[in-house]
Symmetry: C2
Subunit: 373 residues, 2 copies
């Protein structure tokens, strides 16, 4: 039976639940409440936004619907609005289906969680795949015909489109929580403590609807990712069940790919440092995924950040061939452990020619960084 | 000009150097001496060991010679003595050349740095490749004909061989150091401090000829690996140049593969715990390299160890498909940072379907381990 919660009463400790079949509402008392309401895709209120043929891909069902549409209709031209991870993944898979793909974004680069020099490598991979990339171009609206989208309008051009995909990110689904009087934090997400408890005793929240703490900066951040949501759900569940569990926070780790180019990042990046008052240095090095003489070796680029003086690792970014991106996890562990570049450089990372050069590219980056901290 | 050091005089601070061309020797004074003499392959003094057709693969040139022999002669049957990493790599590449390969080892399992349950998976991969595996069978000697090897003899059988490869490990090349009066440690390797200085001021040593400290146990160990040697060389060089650099030690990290099966390990394992007086627990979990629904997903098995009570991670082992083994590096970082399973389980490791399930297999292992520590 499908039901929707319509209101949360923090004083009476009950929720108002409406049955989607019968329309009846009941008051459901609770001892503890977990809010796991997720996020909703951002849909800017521009002209034509409600036209048919404009898709978001936030749920599995939306993905299935989109694929069905592509299977059943002669879709030749798709415009992807937004050059984030979702936009990139959609573009890659549309190209694989033989569709002509254009991508527009107001930002001057793809993937803002990367530094511009690293993002340029990703843009090159997209263009090599045949994606037409229009950066520095904001979405102004849509042309429509008979209620169906026909073009995406930017200040510079009208891009003809049989179908449009919006990949403009998500915002926390925190309306009910806000209406109930729970405190909100970063980007309007539900404010929770390290046990995942909201501003009222016995009200818990986890996943794409809550704020997180950044393990490097210590500041609140909003991160909507399945892997973070899962970890937070586990912590909330343990606490509701009477244990004492804490969530240490997120590092902003992300990984994706464009065809054969792997991309990953974690921690802070150049745009963060001034805002946080951190004096940071960085290096960007060229390495290889395997020993240079080993079959299948590919290039990989590593950018690594550390705090000047202390040498503490602050973040990292990787763009490269097969096997490059998942190496980011070593930097993640270093961030959680507050490791310095000096400690990092001697890590006994695995080496054999099919897997790594004698000095793993991460260690080469740490060595280069040591000369600057 | 090829030269060989014949003796080290610690009192006079000079080495005796013989020219390999002229046979003349000179006394070469030094301010600082770095011994980087490497290791030599273990060749047991059994009957027939000096016969032609018995190869070790310790140097690049030995590898080239071996390949030339395989190119030029009708080699049909090769016996590999020793089921360690070198033996496995040789077996894989010989099979790829169409050679019939048998492998013998005195141990009851392949790859002793793995626990038996994990080693069994590797043995299966070897057998799937067509390698005939004879475990619990020590090398007794060789049959020869006209000075050339014709069979490998074990207590159980005679294995016909056109060529034999010895992969019985290495021992430190520390003869000169011992003769000079330098202290030796684990397995007869040159004893060095954390700056890579030997037992005499101004005498430094690094690489396959020295002892290392295990970062988990704190005990001396002997590890002969290129990546460790490189790191130690860097530390010795920095110190000789007047800086103060220290080498934190090794975790015993190793990585290899058998055809499409990747294998990695780090830290301590079951056989270590009783000896070290550690109360340890372990879990072995089945995971996948990618999201289960994503094309190219493969199985991977993770074994993880922690200390009972403290929960401190003590080591890990991985056997699995493409992308499985290099994940060991996250465990390496955890070992160097003395991380507990409780800290490890919340690491913000990278997730996207082409790279990982929502919970990375390493985190699934840590979760399972938490129930036992």
């Amino acid at each position: 039976m499908r039901q929707a919660v319509e209101a949360i009463d923090l004083t009476q400790r009950r929720v108002q639940v409406r049955s989607m079949e019968t329309g009846h509402t009941v008051q459901q008392p609770f001892d503890a409440l977990l809010i796991a309401a997720g996020a909703v895709p951002i849909c800017p209120p521009v002209e034509g936004i409600t036209a048919a043929g404009i898709y978001t891909v936030n749920t599995l069902q939306q993905g299935v619907d989109l694929r069905d549409t592509l299977d059943r209709h002669p879709i030749k031209r798709v415009v992807v609005v937004g050059a984030g991870a979702i936009g990139l993944e959609m573009a890659e898979n549309l190209v694989a289906r033989g569709v002509d793909v254009s991508m527009v974004d107001l930002a001057p680069q793809v993937l803002p969680p990367l530094d511009p020099d690293m993002a340029t490598r990703v843009a090159q991979a997209l263009e090599a795949l045949g994606v037409h990339l229009y950066l520095n171009e904001g979405l102004q609206g849509f042309d429509t015909q008979n209620g169906h989208v026909t073009a995406v309008i930017t200040p510079q051009r009208a891009l003809p489109a049989d179908l449009v995909i919006l990949g403009l990110g998500v915002r926390p689904n925190a309306t009910l929580a806000a209406d109930a009087g729970l405190a909100l934090g970063e980007k309007g997400a539900i404010l929770v403590d390290e046990r995942m408890q909201a501003s009222h005793e016995g009200i818990w929240a986890a996943g794409d609807c809550v704020t997180s703490r950044h393990v490097v900066s210590g500041r609140p951040v909003y991160v909507a990712l399945g892997t973070v949501a899962n970890k937070q759900g586990r912590i909330a569940g343990l606490n509701i069940a009477g244990e004492h569990a804490t969530f240490p926070g997120v590092a902003g780790t992300a990984i994706t790919k464009v065809h054969r180019t792997e991309i990953a990042r974690t921690g802070l990046q150049t745009t963060d440092f001034a805002r946080l008052g951190l004096d940071a240095v960085s290096v960007t090095i060229q390495g290889t995924t395997r020993a240079r003489y080993y079959p299948g070796v590919e290039e990989m680029t590593v950018k690594l950040f550390a705090e000047k003086g202390s040498g503490r690792i602050l973040g990292g970014q990787i763009v490269g061939g097969t096997g490059a991106a998942k190496r980011i996890d070593v930097i993640v562990a270093a961030l959680f452990a507050r490791m310095t570049a000096d400690q990092f450089v001697n890590l006994d990372l695995a080496y054999a020619p099919p897997f790594s050069p004698t000095w793993d590219p991460l260690l080469i980056a740490a060595r280069a960084l040591l000369k600057r901290v």
